[in-house]
């Protein structure tokens, strides 16, 4: 994780990485690699409370604050899903909650993921992003105390 970069720099990096692939099979292969490498979440987070609703596979997500930055951990029983969360974490994790709240996540369109995953699966994707942003809202300035 490259914590010094801004969210949009990280997004650009991913768009760059994906530009190397010219078909979806190679993109999937890359996403699967990311999925396999995703740091796992603790087993005790794998419950209703941390579950992301609306995905076709099970997804669990947690976030913790450290030194004013928000760090995510997640897991899924499907690897492609894990790969996609991995991308989201890559972009958002280690940023200030305020920044995360406002992130546009434009890279998902740029790499063609939103378009490729429409619309049942895009629902799952949106559900993950919403859950991540909700953590950011919870931990952001307004709600610290």
């Amino acid at each position: 994780m490259t914590e010094s970069k801004t969210i949009s720099q990280r997004e650009d990096q991913i768009v760059d990485d994906f530009s190397l692939f010219d078909d979806w099979m190679s993109k999937y292969e890359y996403i699967i690699e990311l999925g396999k490498k995703l740091p796992l979440i603790d087993e005790n987070y794998k419950n209703e409370l941390y579950e992301v609703k609306g995905c076709q596979s099970k997804v669990w997500l947690n976030a913790e604050m450290k030194d004013g930055m928000l760090y995510y951990k997640a897991d899924s029983d499907a690897i492609i899903t894990k790969g996609i969360i991995s991308l989201l974490i890559e972009v958002l994790s280690g940023n200030k909650p305020e920044e995360i709240k406002n992130a546009e996540m434009d890279f998902l369109n740029k790499i063609g993921l939103k378009e490729h995953l429409s619309p049942n699966r895009a629902n799952g994707l949106n559900a993950m992003i919403n859950k991540m942003k909700n953590f950011a809202i919870k931990y952001s300035g307004e709600n610290v105390n």
């Binding site: 076709q56 429409s118 619309p119 699966r121």
Partner: protein
């Protein structure tokens, strides 16, 4: 005649009629003059072709599928729901339930909502002019609950006597269900006024908008109705599909109507958790093609424009009224101030069946009988039925000329 008297420049009727293939059919050697639009409307090519296109390109079961066809069908299905939402200006798509038609919509409300809010000794108010589909469900509900069904009376012009309504409503009233536009009288009811009174008593109102949907702009937020149902087949769309609108708070509070399929969130052998709105009310594989193409029918209506449709239809009605007056011996049932484009009538001394049979022989399609409002026709107006000519914008002044000539012919044959 169209070119002379019609001042609608925005609709080119001749061209528009070409979009309706069935209108060029011949019946008994004559071009069909279709005046049974209140029973079901004809369909434009855009609607007919959208059905074929669905089956030829994206047919697949909706929701939960991860393959491309299923994704595409789901997207088209949900897009159509959004079109329906806009069509009646509902607040969100969770309030838009795809049903089989108006009848199913009303039955759903009677069963899931009515059973909940109506108890022993309570009262439900409908009117004397209801279609059987908005009468029998409440009759049966009241029967089973030992509640009382009350009827807003209808005056001789076929209008609701709203003064009587204000005397009927009281703290025992638990539900009101009303037809927006009467299918047998043509009356456009003052539903806003009634809803306002009802809400001042905290009574929810269901609207049967089967005849309103094809003829006027519906705005459920402005009306503030609690439920509203209509059918696709009467608004230039396919058969077997309709919309039930319900306010979110009501739909949330109601148990499902049918069980199975997409309306389930999770299920074990012991227990079921239901899905969110509107899916909770859409059990089983829906009429996917029907739902998608209902959206095409909405597009069609919006392309024509509600105002253009209304203006054209009022011209047809005015013209027909004028000709009917000239024929003589015609008694029109339903002469409300505010009326949609249909004429229910009898020729004095001639049975509706006789009139309808001869007209059919002249290629003119009208409906005869009770029009599914038997108590209104038989008990209220004491008639053995009426002849009903119900118009749509695609009818022409020439067709109405033929109708008038046909009626004169009928008179000469029977009187």
């Amino acid at each position: 005649m169209d070119t002379q008297t019609s001042n609608i420049e925005t609709i080119d009727i001749t061209k528009l009629r070409e979009e309706f293939p069935i209108l060029s059919r011949k019946i008994s050697g004559e071009p069909i003059a279709y005046f049974d639009n209140a029973a079901t409307s004809q369909k434009p090519l855009s609607v007919i072709n959208a059905i074929s296109e669905y089956y030829e390109t994206i047919n697949s079961n909706v929701h939960r599928g991860i393959h491309t066809l299923s994704e595409e069908a789901t997207e088209a299905y949900e897009n159509s729901r959004e079109k329906a939402r806009k069509f009646i200006n509902a607040q969100n798509t969770g309030e838009i339930v795809f049903v089989k038609g108006t009848t199913e919509g009303i039955n759903l409300v009677a069963s899931s909502f009515g059973s909940k809010v109506v108890g022993e000794g309570d009262e439900v108010i409908i009117s004397e002019m209801e279609h059987h589909s908005n009468l029998v469900p409440w009759q049966k509900l009241c029967e089973s609950k030992n509640a009382k069904l009350k009827f807003i009376p209808v005056n001789d012009k076929g209008e609701l006597i709203t003064d009587e309504f204000r005397k009927m409503i009281n703290e025992k009233t638990k539900l009101i269900s009303l037809v927006y536009i009467s299918n047998s009288l043509g009356t456009v009811n003052p539903v806003s006024e009634i809803i306002e009174t009802a809400h001042s008593f905290n009574v929810p109102v269901v609207l049967d908008a089967a005849q309103a949907a094809p003829h006027m702009k519906i705005d459920v937020q402005k009306l503030d109705c609690d439920f509203l149902a209509f059918s696709g087949h009467k608004m230039y769309g396919p058969t077997g599909i309709g919309i039930l609108f319900g306010k979110e708070k009501h739909l949330e509070s109601m148990p499902p109507y049918q069980y199975g399929g997409e309306m389930i969130k999770s299920v074990t052998y012991d227990k079921t958790v239901f899905n969110v709105l509107p899916y909770k009310f859409e059990a089983g594989t829906p009429n996917i093609a029907g739902a998608i193409v209902l959206g095409t029918a909405v597009d069609f209506i919006e392309r024509l424009g509600h105002e253009n449709i209304h203006n054209r239809e009022m011209q047809l009605l005015t013209y027909a009224n004028q000709l009917f007056g000239e024929i003589g011996d015609i008694r029109i049932i339903g002469t409300a101030e505010n009326k949609t484009c249909l004429i229910s009538f009898i020729i004095n001394g001639i049975h509706p069946y006789d009139t309808g049979s001869i007209l059919d022989n002249l290629g003119i399609a009208v409906r005869t009988g009770f029009h599914c409002t038997q108590p209104l026709i038989e008990q209220r107006f004491r008639l053995p039925g009426t002849v009903r000519a119900s118009f749509a914008f695609y009818n022409t002044f020439e067709e109405i000329d033929r109708l008038a000539a046909g009626l004169s012919k009928v008179k000469s044959m029977f009187l």
